[in-house]
Structures are given as C-alpha cells and as structure tokens.
Amino acid sequence: MLIQKPADVLPSEITPRSLFERRRDFLARSGAGLVAGAALWHGLPDSARASTRLQGAPSALSTTEPLTEREAVTTYNNFYEFGTDKADPARNAHKMAVRPWTVNVEGLVGKPRRFDIDELLRLAPLEERIYRLRCVEAWSMVVPWVGFPLAALLKEVEPLGSAKYVEFVTHYDPKIMIRDVIDWPYTEGLRLDEAMHPLTLLAVGVYGEVLPNQNGAPLRLVVPWKYGFKSAKSIVTIRLTEKEPATAWNKFAPQEYGFYSNVNPEVRHPRWSQAAERRIGELRKRPTQMFNGYAEQVASLYQGMDLKKFY
C-alpha cells in the first residue's frame, strides 16, 4: 500500500501561525492588503466569526507531503461563478450567504431528506484529510481538508439498487455571480462506487478552520484522484440517478473534459500537458502520478476500462 504513516500533528501546528500573521501585518500596511483582509473576514459566516476553528481527527489516508501555504490555498482558486481570475473568488465569494444552508439529498434513495448544514456537521466524526489536489491546468497543491466521507451521508439516505450515479448541483445565484461563462448551476457527477469510496470526502473545513467561501463553503466535494473541477463547491443538491449525469465542463467542451476525468499523465489535454505539474510554491515541475498518486486505492474501480476512451 502507498498509504503512509499518518501525520500525528495538525496543520495548525505544522504551519507556524505566527508566520502567517506576520504576513498579514505586512499586507495590512498596504492599502490593498487591508481591503483584502477585510473582505476575507467579512466573508466568514456569522456563526463562524466567534470561532472559526474546526478540528478533525488525523486520518491514515493523509499524505505526509509538505502542505501548500494557507495563503495560496485560499487566494488561488477556480470558482468561476465569482470570476475567472484565480484571485477573483477570494475577492468576491464573500457575497454568498452560507447560513442558513440546506442540502437536499434526493433521487433513487430509500429515505430522501433535506439536511441542515449544522446536521451535516454532526453527521459523522470530522477528520482531517491531507490530500494532493491536481488541477486540470497542470498545477497542484497539498491541502489539509476537514470533513467526513461522502459514504457516511449516502448510507443515511439508503441508496436504492437502481442507483448507479450521484449528481451534485451547486449553489447558483445570478445576483451575486458573474455572467454565465459555462452553463450554471455547476453540476458534477460520480459513479456510485466512486462516491462510496473511502477517499471521497465532503469537506466543511480547511487548515483547521471553517471553509472560506472561495474554497466552496459550507460544503464541498473532494475527490483527490480526479482533476480538481470534479470536486464541486458549495453543494445544494445531491441526487442519486440511474443514468450518468451531465457535468458542467463536459457539456461545455466534451473533447477536453470527460465524465471520469481521473488524473492521468498519459491522456493529453489540448491546452496542457498532463505529464507534469507545478506544485504551487515550487519552481520546477514534477511528474504527474497516475490517479494523482492514489492508484493503490482506486485503480481497481476502473479494472478493464480503457482509460484513454473513458478519460
């Protein structure tokens, strides 16, 4: 197994808090930094302002690789509804109200239910999962998510035998989001066995704190062996279906983004070589690993499939 010994320290202990705060002081001296800082603070949900801490128990599924800086994780985002520049979501996502928030779990399930976000936070023990994140744009990060397995939620609603896929629909509010760049609401999908896989996470926090809005608050998917866009943000509906659901990027450019979109250095993309990636914070590129390094755990899901065809 590739699974390594879990880290017995929390990221908050690994990343010196003082360093981050000094950076902030420095930023605050410049006017732009002050505004950005204020926007970040403003973006936090009301209930989180008192305490934004959200700890999770260390997990054996975590990588021991060095974490990407918190600053990069929370300011370099693809959340096109809030702008297509990487820095746009951190500037604009505060407009999204993340409380109250409900998630409808419906479709081919025995017990369809509408969950309040606070119920979801208590649904299963929160874990800290340090995962590699590989974007289809050939950059990557190592992110300490806080969350619980999607399987825990799906078991609550008792999927029917006819359910083969899970569709995720994300929050859409044209009043606070930019013009349609791709078809919104953004939707994503997984096969049911992918959704039930122990690596598949519903994240509610990052870096030991409540998820910032730009990272997909209050609830997002994290599927570490697939390109980042599969990990839908700010989810409002989870629907179990018999047929493969339409997914946002696949609808936009089917020849570029497949339904599976597993990280695969051998399947070319017209814009980026997928053979290598730049880990944010590093200068030189590194080779991309099959299934983003999670082959041991997930390769069996795709046995007998031509991954060049089902890209």
């Binding site: 800086e69 600053e71 990069a72 300011t75 370099y76 096109y80 297509t84 990487k86 820095a87 744009e137 950059w139 760049v181 791709i182 936009f252 450019a253 070319r268 017209p270 814009r271 070589s273 053979a275 290598a276 730049r278 944010i280 914070g281 200068l283 030189r284 590129k285």
Partner: protein, 227 residues
C-alpha cells in the same frame, strides 16, 4: 500650440521618444520588482508568463494603431515612434518565450517540441514569435536601404498576419471566458478593417479618374520630346 504639435522640434520629438521608452519599460520593471518581493500571487510563473504575453500583444496593437492615429490626427511625426513600439512588442514577446522555455519548461526540449506540435494555441503563438524575428532584425535604416523600400514594406506587411496569430494564441489558451481575447480581437479587427477600407477608397479613386476628353481621343500625345 497646434502648430507646435503638428510640427514639433527635434528636441520635443526626442523627449516624447524618451518618455515612450520609459513607459514601455514600466510593465517589465513592475514584474521584476513583483518577482523579487514575491507579490505576484500563488503562481508567479503563471503571472509573469501571462503578463509578458499580454504586453507583447498590447504593444503590437499599439504599433498597428500608429498609422491610423497619424491619418486621423495629421500628426505625421507619430510615425517616428513606430519602430521603437514594434521593437518593444518584440522584446516582450521574446521575454514571454524565454519565460516559457526557462521557467515554465526548464528547457525540457521534448516537452517543448510536443507542446509546439500538439497544442494549437502554442503552435500559433510560436509561429507568431518566429515570424516577428525577421521584422525585428530589419527594423533599422541599414536593412531598409539594403532591401529597398518596396521589399522592406512587403516583408513588414506580415505583421498583420502575426497580429492575427497572436490574438488566436490568446483566444485558444483560455478555457471558457473569452472576454479579454475578444477585446483584443475587436481592436485588431478595427485596425485591419481601416486598412482594408482605405485600400478600397484608393481603388475607387483610381477607377473614378475621368476619361480623356473627346477631342483628344485616338490622338497620341507625345510626352517625351523627339530626339
């Protein structure tokens, strides 16, 4: 005032040139300082790659705007800024290409060759850069004299094709939000459209030259005196 604007002294032109020179250097300076101070965001290599490429395109469009500006304003001395603007466009393109080779690919020639052959947006960007090289190399008085004005001009007309390739390079790069490439494409369309329109006007003017008067028909008019 108007007179001095239309016919500035040599000193004024030199001062304007110096100012434009400094202005053209500012984006590069800004990026260099940002790189040193680590204020270029989480992915600084991406930031400088994009910025240098976008400045190359902007300067190329500014260069192409000189002739129309000169025609509309009557400020013929503007032409004397064109060579410098064009050379700055090349300098930023060269910087953009170097950043790609060095910082983005770290001279991984296999990956670079594959990119150029396999990725349409890189193919057209590379073509635009290669085609700019002869233009930059002949942007001097010596080359003009050596080639002759007509051939020099024919060579430098390829800048229109280069500008189209450069816009295409940007257009094909973006994933979904074509806002910025569309803006540059529109500007280029206006700049090229004006030239097309002027050509058409010139053609019509030549066609509308009045026919010779009746009493001169079939008569040979000798313009060269008999030896």
């Amino acid at each position: 005032m108007n007179l001095s604007l239309k016919a500035p002294t040599a000193g004024t032109i030199a001062a304007v040139k110096a100012l434009v020179f400094v202005l053209c250097l500012l984006p590069a300076l800004d990026l260099a300082l940002g790189w040193r101070a680590d204020t270029l965001g989480a992915n600084p290599i991406e930031t400088i790659t994009r910025a240098s490429g976008e400045w190359a395109l902007r300067l190329l469009l500014i260069t192409l705007a000189v002739t129309p500006l000169r025609r509309f304003s009557g400020l013929h001395w503007l032409l004397r800024l064109r060579r410098m603007l064009g050379l700055f466009a090349f300098a930023y393109a060269f910087g953009h290409f170097t950043i790609y080779l060095w910082l983005d690919q770290f001279f991984d020639w296999n990956a670079i060759a594959l990119d150029i052959l396999d990725r349409p947006f890189i193919t057209v960007g590379f073509a635009a850069f290669v085609l700019l090289i002869p233009l930059a190399a002949t942007s001097n008085g010596f080359a003009i004299r050596r080639l002759g004005g007509r051939r020099w001009q024919a060579l430098h007309r390829s800048v229109y094709a280069i500008a189209i390739l450069a816009v295409l390079h940007f257009w094909w790069l973006v994933k979904a939000d074509i806002g910025r490439p569309l803006l540059y494409a529109s500007i280029l369309a206006v700049l090229l459209g004006l030239r097309g329109w002027w050509r058409e006007l010139e053609r019509r003017r030549q066609l509308s030259v009045p026919p010779p008067a009746k009493h001169l028909e079939k008569k040979v008019i000798r313009l060269v005196p008999r030896q």
